[in-house]
């Protein structure tokens, strides 16, 4: 890591994460951290296990080994994570700083309590529901409470009407941000691909996450849309209390917006650092260019030689 950070509890810390599917080891002892206010990118060749890491963090898979801790507050008492782990409980309340052991929680609780939202590689919108409905469904838990688990809502209580108006307000706020207000009442399945991608991000943001996990948000976008996406993600990072963890193949997106890059290959971490460090990391270049294991040391030496000659500006 280039930047030295004050010793606070990171937002997300993944430790010794291992995921086996039968005999196949998809992730092998992976550890990394995602800091508050950062855009952390997870990159690697196809099949490196990036989406599996996402599925472990968001509770869709139960990791075989490992701990995934999410801390809402930066000032955690020392050893809070260890104490929580030993206690056998799943989380500490928000009053005590909000600490969550994600590997112990089911998927919907991770979004509802630990405040992690995610998008999917193949877009998963509610295609038969309108754009607005998609954003309102995302605020389900808050609205359920406001509707008194439907009882207050059935009699049309004022508190519920007010909560619903607020939910619509939040939805229109995000619709404005993604320039889809004029299509609010159209079915989500009718939107063009790029708009669907942005709507999925807006829907995830409507859950008010602390950590937003994006699985290849730029896949299938044209350069202009990709540019818009960059500014949307920067806006989320800068103006909201939301850090971003993203998987991406599009290096123009990764290098431009991320503050921190983690590189995976065959389920293990091969590099971790700022985008500039990653660009010049020989192991990363080898992984991306596909070098045989035996030749790797030779290639590394060659790269080192080249780098000493001139300032490398090569893309990985």
């Amino acid at each position: 890591m280039a930047a030295i950070r004050p010793s606070t509890t990171p937002l997300l810390s993944v430790e010794h994460l291992t995921m086996r599917f039968g005999g196949l080891v998809a992730i092998d002892g992976l550890s990394f951290k995602a800091e508050r206010g950062d855009i952390t990118a997870l990159i690697g060749p196809n099949g490196a296990g990036k989406t599996t890491v996402f599925n472990c963090i968001t509770g869709f898979y139960k990791p075989t080994i490992g701990r995934i801790a999410l801390a809402h507050s930066a000032q955690m008492p020392p050893h809070a994570v260890e104490r929580l782990t030993e206690s056998g409980r799943r989380w500490l309340d928000r009053a005590k700083g909000g600490l969550f052991l994600l590997e112990r929680m089911p998927d919907f609780e991770i979004t509802a309590k630990a405040k992690i939202a995610r998008t999917f590689q193949n877009i998963r919108l509610f295609t038969g529901m309108t754009v607005l409905e998609n954003l309102i469904v995302a605020q389900h838990n808050a609205l359920m409470r406001a509707s008194g688990w439907s009882l207050l809502g059935l009699i049309g209580a004022k508190s519920f009407t007010k909560a619903q108006a607020e939910a619509i307000e939040r939805a229109t706020f995000w619709l404005d941000k993604i320039n889809l207000t004029h299509r609010a009442d159209d079915p989500a399945g009718d939107l063009p691909y790029g708009d669907q991608r942005r709507l999925e991000i807006a829907r995830a943001m409507c859950t008010r996450p602390r950590l937003l996990c994006l699985d290849e948000p730029a896949a299938g976008l044209n350069p202009r849309e990709s540019h818009d996406l960059n500014s949307l993600l920067r806006y989320i990072r800068d103006e909201h209390d939301t850090a971003i963890l993203l998987i991406e193949h599009d290096m123009s997106v990764v290098m431009e917006i991320s503050d921190h890059v983690v590189v995976l290959e065959h389920g293990a971490k091969i590099a971790d650092g700022t985008p500039d460090e990653i660009k010049n990391d020989p192991a990363v270049i080898a992984a991306y260019l596909g070098v045989e294991d035996e030749e790797e040391s030779a290639v590394e030496a060659e790269i080192a030689q080249l780098q000493s000659g001139r300032t490398a500006e090569g893309t990985p």
Partner: protein, 463 residues
Amino acid sequence: MRGPSITQTATTRDTAPHTRPGVAAAFFDALKTALLVIGLGTPIILIETRQSGAVVTLHLRFGLLAALAGIAFAARLLHLLVIAPWLANRQPLRLAERIPRQFKTWAKRAVIAFVVLYPFIALALAGKGGAIKWIDNFGIQLLIYVMLGWGLNIVVGLAGLLDLGYVAFYAVGAYSSALLATTFGLSFWLCLPLAGILAAFWGILLGFPVLRLRGDYLAIVTLAFGEIIRLVLINWVDFTGGYAGISGIPRPTFFGLPFTAGEDGFAAFFGLQFTPLHRLFFLFYVILALAFLTNYVTIKLRRLPIGRAWEALREDEIACRSLGIDTVTTKLTAFSIGAMFGGFAGAFFAARQGFISPESFIFMESAVILAIVVLGGMGSQVGVAIAAVVMIGGTELLRELDWLKQIFGPSFDPTKYRMLLFGLAMVAMMVWKPRGLISTREPSIVLHERKAISGDLVKEGHG
């Protein structure tokens, strides 16, 4: 989604322009069809076995087979030369969008007024003797199925959970209300909510183990549950009376006034002349109120977070979980609320009949209710009501076709053709309206302008 959008449907429905085939080609095609009918019909229509005593003789019915082949020939020719070109050139019928909104609200009011006044209309048109049949068979019977259809619509249409054993909850409602009434002497008005609660409880009990299954697996297990309930009703003779069922279920009373000819009866109290029609009128309005309640609650719930979560669940369960929705609880609420309305309908059924037996709760009933929901258009309240009227009213109408006996002979029984017509209706549906009578979806919340959502985009759910 691969389906075309709303705006495109009108233009892209038929991709290739349909040209009228040559007469000669059509003739040969029809000839092939006729030959196919002869080939298929030879074993099942041509050869008839007649048994007299121990002797079986074969009769060959050449005339019948030739007639059928001729019909097939003519029908195929007609289809190729007239119907197919007409269908291809016709603009698809888009009634829902062409009718102005104002007309829709007036039509809705007119239908509600007709339904509310229906017993009086029936009385005026059919007289005292004829009205019984019209109110009982066409009114009350139909409304029970409308209510069951609306109840199942919550589970299948909104939450997208394919439930093939819905009749189980109908049975739980009927038996619990009948047993409570005969054993503890509780009145109908107390049995009704209790039956609903018990059915909902059974819905939760079944839901817990079952709702982790999806799609076909869920359908099979719910089917099995329906059968288990029926078999328990048959075999637990001490409790349920077995095949004999439960009889002598007290009839509902009008605030304590029974519908009897006696001194303290309803008629005597109001100074009216006694007639069995009073009870029918009363039952009609009770089931009408129950059906309206089901409809009202469903429409209300659809616009609440829980209803939106049901529909989101039908669209994409994984996305729901990623948004923090507890899918198990959400499915359970859909299952139990649907079951509760089934239980209400069952309690009403028991009180109306005065007698119940396992015969009334066979799988066929589940299939009919599911067919109503599917034919109506999954999720559409109006569609389900229309489908119930067409399917149940249609089968009742078959009983009215006695005059056909004059044509086909005295052994002709039109009600025997019920299932055949059922099947034909289903096939026709698959061809012309694959997403049900009303396939568009109304959004549950609107920012600027209310637009119907094309059925092509709405998913059916898979568990």
